[in-house]
Symmetry: D2
Subunit: 334 residues, 4 copies
């Protein structure tokens, strides 16, 4: 059950509400998001929700059968848009493209990428400065210095930044330089990190776990929303299967299913989703056809020399062709 | 290694070739397909293939690193087209649509479906008369009587038929009433069935195994080709994964990978690929965007009353909208 | 629902029973097995089974919630024993060992294996003469000649034979030379083959499909039983997963689950289950500890020279040590 | 490559070594563990390691082909023992049992469990105070207060404690009350957490990721060791597969494979490995038979009332029988 409170609920109204809930033995979690305040409960018995709805402090009340609540489509019919400011909005109408290298490597690299984004009228750049790596001996990213360099180059051109945050202690230092925090596939169920990101006011893109179910992804988003942050993007990036002819099995089915279950926007990460450069454009287009709101794509001036993920990264010419193709069909498909 | 023989090789030329192969200790399988005759060998050591190519009975010779040979793109660059006669050809240019019910149920049902195919200018109807069912107590199809009924209604309207064959002894009785034999996902590695279908001259569509790898699907196609039948379609229909929010995990990645590895046409079975009626059209479009040559879709006058697979079957109005959408984008995507 | 008929039911009794079933709109399948005759129905509504039980031709009647019926533990509490004659019985008490090469290769090979079985007091030899192979160019077995050679050597020493049958047309020619028909993992859902084996009176061991669920294995066994053959063994041989550090993921959990769900004996195929020779004995012991009734193990005089599966095949000394270990703990574990 | 330094290496010796490594263009990570100091390098080219070995500051040098280094069996042949003090040592000889509830719930609960451990001569108790839960609305554990309560009851009886740590900031507060830090399956690739645990001197048990490969688990252990902590346990707890007849697919194969690849002890978590109470003992025994060094088992005075995981938790009588069975066979199996 989700109880949406009126904007300026009085202490007396709130007290009355709590009294009713207590009498019904319902425990709620209070969620203060930017657009509204909610009380959320996992109901264990049937109750007459009209009793709650009649109270003067209650704007609306919804019964939900989904295990996740605030991120469910059952109560919020309108799709959520993510507004990054300066006119950059992620929603279905535009099929937003986010692109850039796997890792931020150097000022020169950033500037070349920014220039190619500007040329293609792309407004969001991706790039990692904290890199989760299976081996402790691999390149782990340039850290805060890299991020500041990244920010400086993008800010000058009106480009927004999405980059991965790996742990709670990084959230605050990164805050001024980030437009979207990315939670990686290995951290999808790092509940402390999700909780802490729920307390910021910047958008959070959560990647599906390496073998995470669709419901687990939605529950992870619920962690962020229930801690107060309603600006969430869901990202399909491929799952682990028995097939090894490619890197991950891009779960195209997840796109319409996530759109059906949740009001949150869905991003297709085709680069990780197939992991093979020559096939990435086909999978981006498939994601668009399946109903994704946005895509995130790896692009690098010289993929062959990239410090990470070069084998799944487009060069500029491949990227330009993909953007042109997307522009030629997106209106028919949306 | 594939050795392509000249059309009218003489016994003397063939003997000379065999002598050379013997001296090189190479064992070959002779494959007489409609368009050419081949000798195929799995080489265990390096040989100088020019020695073979110089012989007068040899039209061409190819070295291949793939585990499958005749179905590989390494030696045959041109995509294979499947010609069903009467101007019905399956190839990338047209994004062929095959549609119809999971099971053939009655004359009335067939006629309604045929009428809707004609209306949409679709030339191939699917429909099962032998149904592989997990439980011995489930409906197993109408058998040969159903097939004859199916044929009669389609033939009158110039509609071609694709239907599943489950065992060797069915191949011959079905022959006169079938345009494409379908091998189901549970029979992808029924090697006796593949061998026997390789001896017919009708096209064969092989579905990928429930958890079959891409390479295994290509090896199964190799069984058919190496027995003499080069008219093969490969069908992606979803694989089994841990995710249970839908029926199967449609492996969108498999489409570009199969097109890269093989010259055979690739069919996207979106109905089994997601198993949820309302999302089937999205997955068909994704398949088209990813490069499939054709699609196979379940359609029924009243999906709610279908004897099998109703929950993944489109009704006529849903199907008509999908066809219109496909027609509006296929030229841009192909 | 399973209705067990009395041994010498009269036509009048049978007619009365059918009348009652008709009036209840229940469709049954009649199953005539060696030990009893059953009518099996998948009930779609609740009925009072006492009405059926009261009829004079009915020995017993059982309501079942499982999707499979005759193979379920719900109605048959006693574990099924498989009697191969001459005192060779497969049941939990003895932890039966079946061993031998992947492929039958030569008379000398068979004789060496038989000698080592006799030395270890093992009564059942495995060996393939029809080999399902992913590639059409691989060794496909010695066929009927190999089987006859196999039979001759085993028969002389009182050794029983288990070997794979790949298609319906092989069942009859193989009959005189086989004690247990094996259905391979690629044929677990070859329903025509299962049906046909249900009409023989020889035991059938069904391997779990490469990615088959436990319920699908039980349904496949139901095919055999419902066609009249109650002598069935279930074989766990590893499933396909994302892990590639070994050949298959031996599903140790399946053993206690199968024993809980069915009265049929369960065989642990550790050779395919891990696919690495040095670890096979550990997995056999784990299977015993988990409650398997029997094991099937690949053994060869010279695994390095085996025509197939050498990398998972024990040599004689490894096998002898394993047998000794099994003998030292089986009584404590059973 | 692993270079083991002599215990009291002089600055001059270290300088000479660094000079040589520089000249060979080898970058090393210096690892100061309790028992020795190592320099670890991932070699990109072939070098003559004897040159390194000849230097006076070098105790030993090893070339390794594994992607993980310090945790590999290639350089350290002796199995690692984990000494918890007071005579409690985890190693193959004793098949150590760790048992207790999923969640610490109350003083009474802890005391009952401790009493049953003492009765069975078990020296390590498990119990969670920080619980990773898919849903933000589920019980998340008693936290530090629960841990102190847990410690008090165990300390009085000489029982050691293993409990899960979820984030870096918990490590220090938990330190005085914990004998083994557990890293859960959702944190197996939380590299910041692993790094930080590598800087403590308490043992760390790492659970395999929900769909983690064996190599990924070893790489995660490498994170801990390369940060200085060599006291690591590897825990197999089941992987995610398509099969849903039980909770997880216990990967019995992983046990001998981990023992082959690494010198670290391997723990079998059968409770999560099958997730069904009645079958847990069979899987514990299978783990023992497959070569595990230890097991971790969920036990609760009243599993039906447990706040989490009750369906996979043994009661005292089931646990006592399991311990007796283990004691009766462990000597034969080890």
């Amino acid at each position: 059950m989700i109880i949406q409170l009126i904007p300026c609920i009085s202490p007396a109204q709130e007290q009355e509400l709590n009294k009713l809930l207590d009498s019904l033995q319902i425990k709620v979690m209070k969620v203060s998001a930017a657009s509204a305040t909610y009380l959320v409960a996992v109901l264990k018995q049937e109750i007459d929700i009209r009793k709650v709805g009649e109270l003067s402090g209650v704007a609306d009340v919804h019964r939900l059968t989904d295990p996740y609540k605030l991120v469910s489509h059952q109560w919020k019919v309108d799709p959520t848009e993510i507004d990054l400011g300066d006119g950059v909005v992620i929603n279905r109408k535009d099929f937003t493209i986010m692109a850039g290298p796997c890792s931020i490597e150097s000022e020169a690299q950033i500037e070349q990428v920014v220039a190619n984004l500007v040329k293609n009228n792309i407004k969001i750049m991706r790039g990692g400065v904290y890199k989760p790596r299976s081996s402790p001996y691999a390149f782990r990213g340039l850290g805060m210095n890299g991020l500041k360099m990244f920010y400086k180059a993008c800010h000058a051109q009106g480009i927004k930044i999405i980059t991965e945050v790996m742990q709670v202690s990084q959230i605050e230092p990164m805050y001024d330089y980030v437009d979207i925090y990315q939670v990686g596939a290995r951290n999808t169920q790092n509940f402390n990190l999700l909780d802490a990101l729920g307390k910021t006011d910047k958008p959070v893109m959560i990647k599906r776990g390496i073998s995470g179910t669709i419901d687990e992804l939605l529950q992870s988003a619920e962690y962020v929303f229930s801690a107060g942050n309603e600006k969430i993007l869901l990202c399909e990036r491929g799952i682990r299967s028995f097939e090894h002819a490619y890197r991950n099995t891009f779960d195209i089915n997840a796109i319409p299913i996530l759109k059906e279950k949740s009001h949150l926007p869905v991003v297709a990460d085709a680069s990780h989703g197939i992991g093979l450069r020559k096939h990435v454009p086909k999978i981006v287009l498939a994601g668009l056809a399946a109903g994704a709101d946005a895509t995130i794509v790896e692009m690098h001036p010289e993929p062959e020399k990239a410090l990470s993920d070069g084998q799944q990264t487009l060069n500029f010419s491949e990227f330009d062709k993909l953007v042109a193709k997307i522009n030629s069909i997106k209106e028919i498909l949306m």
